[in-house]
Symmetry: C2
Amino acid sequence: MHATTLHRPTHRETLWALEEAFERGDLITVFGRCTVDYDGRASSTLGPGNRLVILKPDGSTLVHTDEKRTPVNWQPPGCEHHASVRDGRLRIRGTRQTPTETLDVDFEQIHQFSALSVTGGRDLDLQGSEEDLRQHILGDPSLVEPGFTPLETERESTAGPMDIYGKDRDDVPVVVELKRRRVGPSAASQLQRYVEALHRELGDGVEVRGILVAPSVTDRTSALLAEQGLEFVALDPDTGQPPEDEASGDVVSDSEAEDEKETADEDDSDV
Amino acid sequence: MHATTLHRPTHRETLWALEEAFERGDLITVFGRCTVDYDGRASSTLGPGNRLVILKPDGSTLVHTDEKRTPVNWQPPGCEHHASVRDGRLRIRGTRQTPTETLDVDFEQIHQFSALSVTGGRDLDLQGSEEDLRQHILGDPSLVEPGFTPLETERESTAGPMDIYGKDRDDVPVVVELKRRRVGPSAASQLQRYVEALHRELGDGVEVRGILVAPSVTDRTSALLAEQGLEFVALDPDTGQPPEDEASGDVVSDSEAEDEKETADEDDSDV
DNA sequence: GAATCTATGTCGTAG
DNA sequence: CTACGACGTAGATTC
């Protein structure tokens, strides 16, 4: 692990440092006053200002201002970084193909340069996804409704793959569409497409049910589902259980507060 | 403008520096070996590794590894930053309400701390958006089809607002849905929802046309549109013209190459 | 590569 | 606040 930092380097010093950092595969940050030009799927220009530019060894490029989670300009992974000095000014260019896109960062002044070696520990363990919800249901299909039997996941149709395909207690085909959060109209339409595709596949005379499973649903979407003869089942992706009624108050255990107290002593400090 | 950097600071030194930086409203970067725990809409844990942590004065928090454009963990704007030292270890916590979410970054080792004052120049000028496409069409409605007359944009319906509402040469109502890029099935469904809503509003006997305008369309979506009696018009959001046939080769002007040559001299350098 | 869908999507805007 | 849709969405998966 190493971290090199240059304070107020010249444009040319930064170019040298960039060359070495590219070579080492470092994660690079450049803080300075710059303009940004992007051209590709769309195009944009950004006037002069102080920004934090991040260059990752996988080709990702991020230009961050002091606001927002999303970079003001960027380049996705796989782009090629290229730095140059023209008329004494540093330019960092990121280019990619398919689609052809170019991002130019032109520096007026460089306040800080850093090259950081970032390695290891990249795998995230995430819970509460749509996949979790599916596992809950496959483990206990009656969560959808008593007598429901899943037959297939990702079953193909002309409208694309459906989340869960199965039959109800009366052997009526059922399409289940899962969403990890409150659903809007697009989810109802998506389910509708699958139901229609199955209708065509199995014959117009065959009944096909469509069930949308999500923690909750908006009013308009609820109406849309009713119109289309689709059903809704409320399930939480974390627990696989029907979500708490919003009227019920939160029950908070006091164990966490005790932990805080235990670890606090005069050597500890807060900001 | 200022930029303070600490090289291999202690956890406690970093805490002090954080306090001052929060106070000043700086953009903060902390590079170090850390673990990350997130709990909120979903929940996740991330084992030890070297990462770049960015704290913005608007409350945004980003944890970046050496890969991907998207941070491995984050907190959106509006969250509150809080730093503390427990048992000699720095913890940075970001919390927000609605929804309740907590992000904890626990440091084993801090390789570098920086506080940067980032101000001004935040306005981006972006071209080639859906709004551009709309302007092209309103300026020359015949781009959709000869005789088309736009009557309203963002016209409300029970299915939500439609991009352009108008009439064709025979006074038949037309819903136009705009997309800035190649469209998939969801766009067809969206248009279908609007057409159905208009049908109900104007009476089932009234003919309503739906036209999807985008640079191109996938095959399955094309079939979906045909089934539903919807139409497609190919237009490029940049030019407002029918997109080039993919068979036609790119015509590249050589002016850029000349520019490069002009500005290149022995003082200039590339990486 | 193209197509399709999920996402702790994020972001803007209207109600 | 919520709802709804756009986004240079990014990212994963499948074909």
